[in-house]
């Protein structure tokens, strides 16, 4: 028997309350039918005796207290899944946006997912080459990793993400890969940019898109990454795909979370964000990984724009504590016209130590990467000294560092957006630049490696 409750007792923002309800459970999906026949969906977020609070995904515009019928479905929110989602475009809650029919599901999955048992995880070790020197050499992306791009408004993070998608390949290229693209509160132009780029590179047939635009309801923005990751897990651990998930923009997601939290009247934490934002972000980011005995993997590249380029803002800060490293873009490199403007020093890949070097990439990879970090950080000291006493007054060695820094940025970091460097090219270029410096300055590299790769004079 279908039970419908008529009327509401309270409407506040995207929340509505009903009284006299029984037999429902927390997190259950509800269908709300408006007077004009429009159907909306909601989720139970609080039960207090007979009173139930619902969060309405599409917002409460046009809803009145009397002429509304609510039906509880008895299930949590599930996403219909089958292999045919590849090539499709959906909205933030998983409804088709491409004018095609609903997915005929092989399976329906709860979008909240479940935590991977740490015992069942497989430690990620196989590296993904992006053909971008500043990533491959010093912040290598590993399959199954979550490696966000920390950017700022107006920087070229979208171009970088698109280039990663175009060029990403593993040592073993026979594996099947798929891309899940999730847009949260981005402008239409951004979504179009990615769509076109996927189309041009012929990847569109392997892409699933979940799009929530800047003007779409915020509740759907909170659902969008959950739908995307559910689809990614399904493709990875049911069909064995290696899935790369691009999520943009996490800052809009967090702001939606804040808006929703304040509408619930919760006690705010730093900068008004809810105190559970760490757990909430973790429930998304931790869905990356590999599982023992499964062929596929989920790799995440979330993009976030740091408000006012501030890396200590709660959004990048909490993200950095959860993700396995970060690729930070620098406005000063961007202003020098360097693409991709990857700031080498704050960028980090926590998993690269176990997926690079002998047996994985090339024997000198880790040593070289450590040395590039160390030498480039000495460049910063030399430059700040030069800004006080002038470059001419610098000691010989500091002058060498300044020259090294200049060439490192112009030749190593900078590359074309269609330029796909092999790992060999990247590493050799790194050695060529390091050879500008005297051998005794290279304290991070073993003598064996220096004998083999160092080309400078003693």
């Amino acid at each position: 028997m279908r039970i419908e409750y008529t009327g509401l007792s309270e409407i506040q923002g995207s929340l509505v309350a009903l009284e006299g309800v029984s037999g429902v459970t927390y997190d259950e999906l509800a269908e709300i039918t408006l007077n004009n026949g429009e159907r909306r969906y909601g989720r139970i977020i609080k039960i207090d005796g007979d009173k139930v609070v619902l969060q309405v995904f599409e917002g409460t515009d046009g809803v009145d207290m009397e002429h509304v019928n609510t039906h509880f479905t008895g299930k949590p929110i599930t996403l219909p899944l089958s292999r045919e989602i590849l090539g499709r475009i959906f909205d933030g809650s998983g409804k088709p946006l491409d004018g095609l029919r609903e997915v005929f599901p092989d399976e329906r999955r709860d979008i909240n997912g479940a935590a991977i048992n740490p015992v069942s995880r497989k430690y990620p070790r196989s590296c993904i080459l992006t053909g971008i020197s500043s990533i491959d050499a010093t912040s290598t992306l590993i399959r199954g990793q979550k490696l966000p791009i920390f950017s700022g408004a107006g920087m070229s993070h979208n171009e970088l993400a698109a280039q990663i998608v175009r060029q990403a390949q593993t040592m073993d290229s026979s594996d099947e890969f798929a891309i899940v693209f999730c847009a949260m509160g981005v402008k239409n132009d951004t979504a179009e940019f990615f769509k076109k780029d996927f189309q041009d590179s012929g990847a569109l047939g392997r892409v699933v898109m979940y799009l929530n635009m800047a003007s779409d309801p915020i509740i759907e923005r909170i659902l969008a990454p959950r739908c995307a990751l559910t689809a990614a897990e399904y493709l990875a651990f049911h069909h064995g795909y290696h899935v790369l998930v691009i999520m943009t923009d996490m800052s809009s997601y967090c702001e939606a979370l804040r808006e929703f939290s304040s509408s619930k009247g919760e006690i705010p934490s730093r900068k008004g964000f809810p105190s559970y934002m760490y757990s909430d972000l973790a429930s998304l980011y931790e869905r990356a990984g590999m599982i023992q005995g499964e062929k596929g993997s989920v790799t995440q590249v979330p993009i976030l724009t740091m408000p006012n380029d501030d890396i200590s803002h709660p959004i990048p800060d909490l993200t950095g504590y959860i993700t396995e490293g970060q690729i930070v873009l620098s406005r000063s490199l961007e202003q020098k016209g360097i693409y991709p403007p990857v700031a080498i020093l704050p960028s980090l890949s926590r998993l690269m130590k176990d997926g690079t070097g002998e047996g994985f990439t090339r024997e000198d990879h880790s040593d070289l990467s450590n040395q590039l970090f160390a030498s480039y950080s000495a460049v910063a000291d030399a430059r700040s000294l030069a800004s006080v006493i002038g470059e001419d007054e610098l000691s010989e060695i500091d002058k060498l560092y300044v020259d090294f820094g200049r060439r490192f940025e112009d030749e190593f970091i900078a590359q074309g957006d269609r330029e796909n460097r092999t790992l060999e090219e990247t590493l050799d270029l790194g050695w060529e630049l390091l050879s500008m410096l005297p051998r005794k300055e290279l304290g991070r590299v073993s003598d064996k490696m220096l004998d083999k790769y160092y080309k400078g004079s003693e």
């Binding site: 029984s22 037999g23 459970t25 927390y26 997190d27 609080k46 039960i47 207090d48 005796g49 909240n112 479940a114 935590a115 991977i116 048992n117 740490p118 015992v119 069942s120 995880r121 430690y123 990620p124 651990f237 006690i267 705010p268 934490s269 105190s275 559970y276 760490y278 757990s279 973790a282 931790e286 990984g289 599982i291 023992q292 005995g293 499964e294 200590s312 803002h313 709660p314 800060d317 950095g320 396995e324 020093l345 704050p346 980090l348 880790s366 970090f373 160390a374 950080s377 000291d381 700040s384 000294l385 006080v388 006493i389 007054e393 610098l394 000691s395 500091d398 005794k440 304290g443 991070r444």
Partner: protein, 587 residues
């Protein structure tokens, strides 16, 4: 006995209101709803009780039953915990994976121990022996490295009767009875339950006189932590907190390691599992996993269980301490625990204090850190718990409440530094802002074990680093070239100390762990060069000549050369040769 019919009245995230009776004890364990998910009673008001549940509350609804156990949250302690991995409320994750596959499902109730496994037990008491709480009555080899000593529950007293002979038993087999003065009998098993929030008793606290030797130069030499002491590692993300924790878990000279992954990454726990199953303890030659217990509440696992996880870890640590072991508890990260506290406090609509953390944050932190200590146990042995807590301050700002309150209850502070991490100086422990209050207590131990004169050498190293940091202020403005030679020498030596000594490569085969005697050699060699070079400069011989011989940069690599068997004499000779070469040139 249970006459009340408790049921769910309301659900708000992990906070459940329960009605139906007034006799739910505070902090007792309940099973909530049709899925029977575990929870704890956190407050009561009239006929309404508030329960926090340890799993996702989706699927709970009004009217579903709540089962009271009447007992506090407890963990079953006994043989079989070593090498195991548990969730925040001590459910074995390997067994769960066997039952439900790769993803964790809800409503599983499992004891911490394997109830079916048979242990070779050596029973050491006989009928009529006096029984006293905490005494050891049986032993069994739990792993190659750890002998499990079964102790009497601290509250039991009387005489042993019906003692079974040594042999193979399960943890819940009754192997004896305790009869007290009034003739009441209590069956005795290998396993015992203990409430996680109650500290296990011991005879008395002893002073801290021995360090936890870690093989990490910056820690052992400059900022040691005593066995039974507390240390905190605060640092922004990417500064290497987890790396330091892993290094200590691998190489410190504790007998048992309890590694608590509290709200951190799943892959990190997997990494520990993988690595510790292969690496060997340099002192005993046993696999590291043979002395390690892991507790994992990764950041996407239920938040209320995160709050409980540090107590679960501490209770297990205390249990092994009571056997007479030196236990090191690594908690990574206490900030996640504090945030879990904040999240639940917010749901309970409590009045928030600083940065919306609850006002009782400091007292909870104190309660946790004070469970560490060097103790005489009830059985008369000595055991200790050393607590090493990572702190993840928001934005790397150490003025936030968790770091500040933690500082009041710890005595060793390893401040990790973002700028050192950017320059890939690891471990990125900043030598000017870190401190150890334990060194004074440990001085005698160091003089006897590292070598006499250690205290003086350590002080010299600290002085050189201190002078360097004030000189760097000048160097940043005018460059190093203009400094007089004695100051240049400070800078060159400090560079050797920083690059050659303080930096330690965790991924290098030998450099990852350096035993005390080699640390001592390094100190002696570095200071020998410093003194000899000082003599040169006092004769107005330019320091650049000595630098040009490459002797300073040779010492950068001394740590690797020592690892490959090079001796102290070799380096002393190297220094002497370089000095004579310079002297000859100035004849």
């Amino acid at each position: 006995m249970e006459t009340n019919n408790y049921y769910i009245h309301g659900v708000n995230g992990p906070v459940i209101t329960v009605r139906g009776g007034r006799s739910l004890p505070m902090m007792s364990l309940v099973y909530v709803g049709n899925d029977k998910i575990p929870g704890e009673v956190v407050s009561a008001n009239g006929d309404t009780a508030i329960v926090q549940v340890y799993e996702d509350s989706a699927g709970l609804g009004k009217g579903q039953p709540v089962i009271s156990t009447g007992r506090p949250m407890s963990v079953l302690l006994g043989p079989g915990m070593i090498s195991n991995i548990y969730d925040g409320i001590a459910r074995p994750l390997r067994t769960i994976a066997g039952m439900t596959g790769s993803f964790i499902t809800k409503g599983i109730t499992l004891p911490a121990l394997d109830l079916e496994k048979l242990w070779d037990v050596n029973i050491e008491v006989k009928d009529g022996d006096d029984a006293k709480g905490g005494m050891i009555f049986a032993r069994t080899m739990e792993s190659d490295a750890i002998e499990h000593r079964c102790m009497l529950r601290p509250d039991l007293k009387g005489k042993f009767i019906e003692v079974k002979p040594s042999g193979r038993y399960k943890v819940t087999d009754v192997i004896a009875q305790i009869v007290d003065e009034r003739g009441r009998k209590t069956p005795l098993m290998l396993a015992q339950e203990w409430p996680i929030r109650r500290p296990r008793p011991c005879l008395k606290r002893l002073p801290i006189t021995r360090p936890l030797v870690t093989g990490q130069r910056v820690i052992d030499t400059l900022f040691p932590v005593g066995k039974g002491g507390c240390a905190a590692i605060p640092g922004p993300f990417g500064a290497g907190k987890t790396m330091v924790q892993h290094q200590l878990a691998k190489w410190s000279d504790a007998d048992v390691i309890v590694y608590l992954g509290c709200g951190e990454r799943g892959n990190e726990m997997t990494q520990v599992l993988d690595e510790f199953a292969e690496l060997k303890d340099p002192k005993t030659g046993h696999l590291l996993m043979e002395r390690t217990i892991l507790i994992a509440n990764t950041s996407n696992m239920p938040v209320a269980a995160r709050e409980a996880s540090i107590y679960t870890g501490m209770t297990i640590a205390e249990y092994y301490r009571d056997m007479g072991y030196h236990v090191a508890l690594m908690a990574d990260s206490t900030s996640r625990w504090a945030e879990a506290l904040r999240e639940i406090s917010g749901r309970l609509e409590e009045m928030p204090a600083e940065e919306s953390f609850p006002a009782y944050l400091p007292s909870r932190l104190a309660g946790f850190y004070e469970r560490a200590g060097y103790m005489e146990t009830l059985s008369g042995a000595e055991g200790s718990i050393t607590v090493i807590g990572a702190v993840s301050p928001q934005g790397g700002d150490f003025s936030e409440p968790v770091t500040q309150n933690t500082k009041r209850f710890i005595r060793t502070f390893w401040a990790l530094d973002r700028s050192l991490a950017y320059a890939r100086h690891f471990p990125s422990i900043n030598w000017t802002t870190s401190y150890s209050e334990y060194f004074i207590d440990l001085k005698d131990w160091y003089e006897n074990n590292f070598g006499s004169g250690f205290t003086k050498m350590r002080q010299q190293i600290i002085d050189i680093l201190g002078k360097e940091s004030s000189l760097m202020e000048i160097v940043k403005l005018i460059g190093a070239d203009i400094l007089p030679d004695d100051q240049k020498l400070i800078i060159e030596t400090a560079k050797v100390i920083r690059q050659g000594y303080l930096q330690q490569n965790a991924f290098h085969k030998t450099d990852t762990y350096m035993p005390p005697e080699k640390q001592m050699i390094m100190l002696e060699v570095i200071l020998y060069l410093f003194e000899e070079a000082k003599k040169l400069t006092s004769r107005n011989i330019p320091l650049n000549q000595l630098v040009a011989t490459g002797v300073f940069s040779a010492l950068y690599r001394m740590k690797f050369d020592l690892g490959e068997g090079q001796t102290k004499d070799y380096f002393i000779k190297l220094i002497d040769d370089s000095i004579s070469k310079v002297l000859e040139g100035n004849e």
